[in-house]
Amino acid sequence: MAEHAHDIAKHVKVYIVIFAVLMVLTLVTVGVSYLELSIMSAVIVAMFVASIKGSLVACYFMHLIDERKIIYWVLALTVFFFIVLMAIPSLDVHSGEGVVVNR
């Protein structure tokens, strides 16, 4: 996007704030891992915090919050196939024929 210098100067302030938030969330991620949560709760919390961090990087550092439509379409397609990819192991697990491996 074509932007003027004064717009960019405003962005820089946002980058600093996002940086601080990312640092705090990193400490939260590590801190939560030391709580004795069940594996399911630990996975949910860790992925929730990672998703927030990832969204901040994508939205502000990669400027996805203000981008052309075609990029949103490309990413929507990617997200769809990514979800399919993540779902593939569940098909195997539910079939009851998953490979049991050691460690």
């Binding site: 932007e3 210098a5 960019i8 100067a9 962005h11 820089v12 980058y15 600093i16 996002i18 940086f19 990312l22 640092m23 990193t26 991620t29 590590v30 891992s33 594996i39 630990a42 996975v43 860790a46 992925m47 915090v49 990672a50 961090k53 990832g54 990087v57 994508a58 550092f61 990669m62 052309r68 439509k69 075609i70 990029i71 490309v74 990413l75 397609l77 990617t78 196939f81 990514f82 990819l85 993540m86 593939i88 192991p89 195997d92 697990v93 998953g98 490979v99 049991v100 491996v101 050691n102 460690r103």
Partner: protein, 273 residues
């Protein structure tokens, strides 16, 4: 023979509203999502199918990985600041921030080296079922002993075992603390079913750990090469074709933020869960 001109490298394409370079890097990143997605999917499959998946914290070095997370996030900020500096016509600041990005990337790799290397000098001896009772006092719930090899002959191995947890990560710290290791233990080679270092061949967990972090590390190296080129020989373009150069830095930045984004998910998945 006429030379075909590549169009829309500095001005947006009228249909997409983007330069071809920017559309290209986003399509590349989409393919990268699928590459890492396949590995995350494999990790889930291995983990769900395993009867005994180790806790990442007990095998890996969380403090070093946390430091690397902080370094990589900081490098993402310096990268975006490098791009912003160009937009604000501050070429001197661009050089400063891009230099910082490269320095932080190198620091990430150095720390990764210190994280990887102890694993190759650390061993686990898996005992034969019949020999388990012989070493019962040294076992911690599993039929194996892990630690450093102090001495070995054709018949036996002298081991300096890990802490009572029997984990690799804790012992790594113990090397420096000098208080957590147990007394040496001599194991007959005939009692060992399998002797292995904590390399990628050790287990499925370490196999997927080295694969994912190794591939991520290769992406870091790729980023360093591109960023170094933009900082030194490639920066000549700033004076001649400024918009095109800004576009290149923007594309390199998008790649670099993606590498950061992958690590944001790798860190908790491998190290903390």
């Amino acid at each position: 023979m006429s030379v075909a001109e590549i169009k829309y490298i500095d001005k947006p394409h009228p249909i997409t509203g983007l330069t071809n370079g920017k559309l290209g890097i986003w399509l590349f990143l989409a393919s990268e999502v699928m590459l890492f997605g396949a590995l995350f999917s494999s990790l889930i499959l291995l983990r769900v199918g395993s009867s005994d998946w180790p806790h990442g914290k007990n095998i890996l070095d969380v403090p070093l990985a946390t430091l690397n997370t902080i370094i990589l996030i900081t490098s993402s900020v310096t990268m975006v600041m490098a791009w912003a500096s160009l937009k604000m016509d501050r070429f001197d600041k661009f050089k400063l921030y891009m230099g910082a990005t490269i320095a932080l990337s190198c620091a990430f790799l150095v720390i990764k080296f210190f994280e990887y290397s102890p694993k190759f000098s650390h061993y686990e001896a898996f005992l034969k079922p019949a020999a388990v009772s012989k070493y019962e006092d040294h076992l911690t719930g599993k039929a194996s002993i892990s630690g450093h090899i102090e001495k070995q002959t054709d018949d036996e191995i002298v081991f300096k075992p890990d802490t009572p947890k029997g984990d690799h990560g804790a012992d790594h710290g113990a090397e420096h603390d000098g208080h957590a290791e147990h007394a040496e233990i001599t194991i007959d080679r005939a009692d060992i079913h399998r002797l292995t270092s904590f390399g990628p061949w050790h287990s499925n967990f370490l196999g997927i750990y080295f694969t994912m972090t190794g591939l991520h590390g290769l992406h870091i190296i790729g980023g360093i090469v591109v960023n170094a080129w933009l900082l030194f020989p490639g920066s000549v373009m700033f004076r001649k074709e400024r918009e095109r150069f800004e576009g290149r830095v923007e594309c390199a930045g998008l790649y670099w933020h993606f590498v950061d984004l992958v690590w944001i998910f790798l860190f908790p998945t491998l190290y903390l869960l």
